[in-house]
């Protein structure tokens, strides 16, 4: 069965996050999260938070949780390399965490600098105790997003929803 590509996938992700009470969209800018961030700025119940470094985003999500709110961390795969020690908070304190990682350095990548971190994303996250839900196909996105939201905010897990380049489409140079 052919996967029907949905170019409006950022709206699906954003709508699901809002439905489930996410109010802060912490991010380091990436092509992959750009539209979600714009939607967070346009919506009157959500805000985007521009970070200098992805590590801050883990703390920001922890701070939101401590006062009963929900935040999400949006980052490119290279940013995963900046966060491991901060993930001590998540496994050590059993904080919920939802991060959405938009991949570089996998299927179709043309920039050699992206491969080392891109290929290390899943083992690094898993080494720090996060669970990875990977999305390759558009027809699996909706269920994956809802599963990730519930695992994080209902079951209190540390979850990385990884959107692969097979899903996103590789950037050409």
């Amino acid at each position: 069965m052919a996967d029907e590509r949905n170019d409006d996938w950022p709206k699906l992700v954003f709508d699901r996050l809002v439905e489930h009470g996410v109010t802060l969209f912490a991010h380091v800018p990436d092509f992959g999260n750009d539209k979600i961030v714009s939607m967070a700025d346009a919506h009157n119940e959500t805000r985007s938070v521009l970070l200098s470094n992805e590590a801050e985003g883990v703390g920001l999500c922890v701070g939101a949780d401590l006062v009963g709110s929900r935040a999400v961390l949006l980052m490119q795969s290279s940013g995963v390399g900046n966060v491991p020690n901060m993930l001590s908070l998540i496994t050590g304190g059993r904080f919920p965490l939802l991060t959405i990682v938009t991949m570089r350095g996998d299927y179709g990548e043309q920039n050699p600098w992206q491969y080392p971190m891109g290929q290390a994303v899943q083992p690094v996250l898993e080494a720090m105790g996060l669970q990875v839900i990977r999305v390759d196909r558009h027809d699996e996105l909706d269920q994956a997003v809802v599963s990730a939201i519930n695992a994080a905010f209902v079951a209190g897990q540390g979850i990385a929803l990884v959107l692969s380049q097979k899903f996103l489409g590789a950037k050409s140079f």
């Binding site: 200098s52 470094n53 939101a64 709110s69």
Partner: protein, 197 residues
């Protein structure tokens, strides 16, 4: 730079005479010990024992999510330098309920007292100002503590106070290291206050 004569043990009682009016997050090590002893680990306090650099980002997440509450970050010079870019993140969001107090002893006290950047040429209040934090101040003597208190009360937030202190050790208070308990205690108390009010 004025001579540094302030002992860190004298700082928090003057700057925070009513600590219960804030949500407080501390960085690891000395700042955590001082604040834990001073508040007797009250339920409005959460302290770090690791995750160096997390204090300001956690404070920002709290401040943006609880805009009716005053949030205070109390941390050290090494801790804040670890994620110094978070001061720019704070400035871009401009939370009007966020106070950052850096207890700057110019060294890594927890690992043996190795001299840090702020004992050499680095000025954290200038870095905060350069990041775009609207109110910044440095104090380093007991006589300036009252001015520091007024700065926390009166200056437009977000605000950054650098408190230069001597090398005198922090409190030796033994705090609870269990972050699972720390999270639940802080969060449940906060949510109970919301329900009650």
């Amino acid at each position: 730079m004025a001579e540094i004569t302030l002992d860190r043990k004298d700082v928090l009682p003057v700057l925070f005479p009513n600590p219960e009016t804030y949500l407080i997050v501390t960085g690891l090590a000395g700042a955590a010990k001082d604040a834990a002893e001073y508040t007797r680990e009250a339920a409005n306090l959460i302290t770090m024992g690791g995750a160096m650099g997390a204090a300001v980002p956690i404070g920002l997440g709290m401040a943006l999510s609880a805009p009716s509450d005053q949030v205070a970050v109390i941390t050290g010079d090494g801790e804040i330098l670890m994620t110094i870019g978070s001061l720019a993140s704070v400035a871009s969001m401009m939370p009007d309920n966020l106070t950052i107090v850096c207890i700057d002893n110019g060294m890594h006290g927890e690992t043996g007292g190795q001299k840090g950047h702020t004992a050499r040429r680095t000025d954290l209040a200038k870095m905060a100002e350069g990041a775009g934090i609207p109110s910044t101040m440095t104090i380093s003597t007991p006589a300036e503590l009252d001015a520091g208190y007024r700065f926390l009360q009166e200056s437009p937030a977000p605000r950054f106070l650098c408190v230069k202190v001597t090398e005198a050790p922090p409190s030796s208070y033994k705090r609870n290291w269990d972050l699972v308990e720390g999270r639940l205690k802080f969060r449940n108390a906060y949510l109970a206050r919301q329900t009650a009010s």
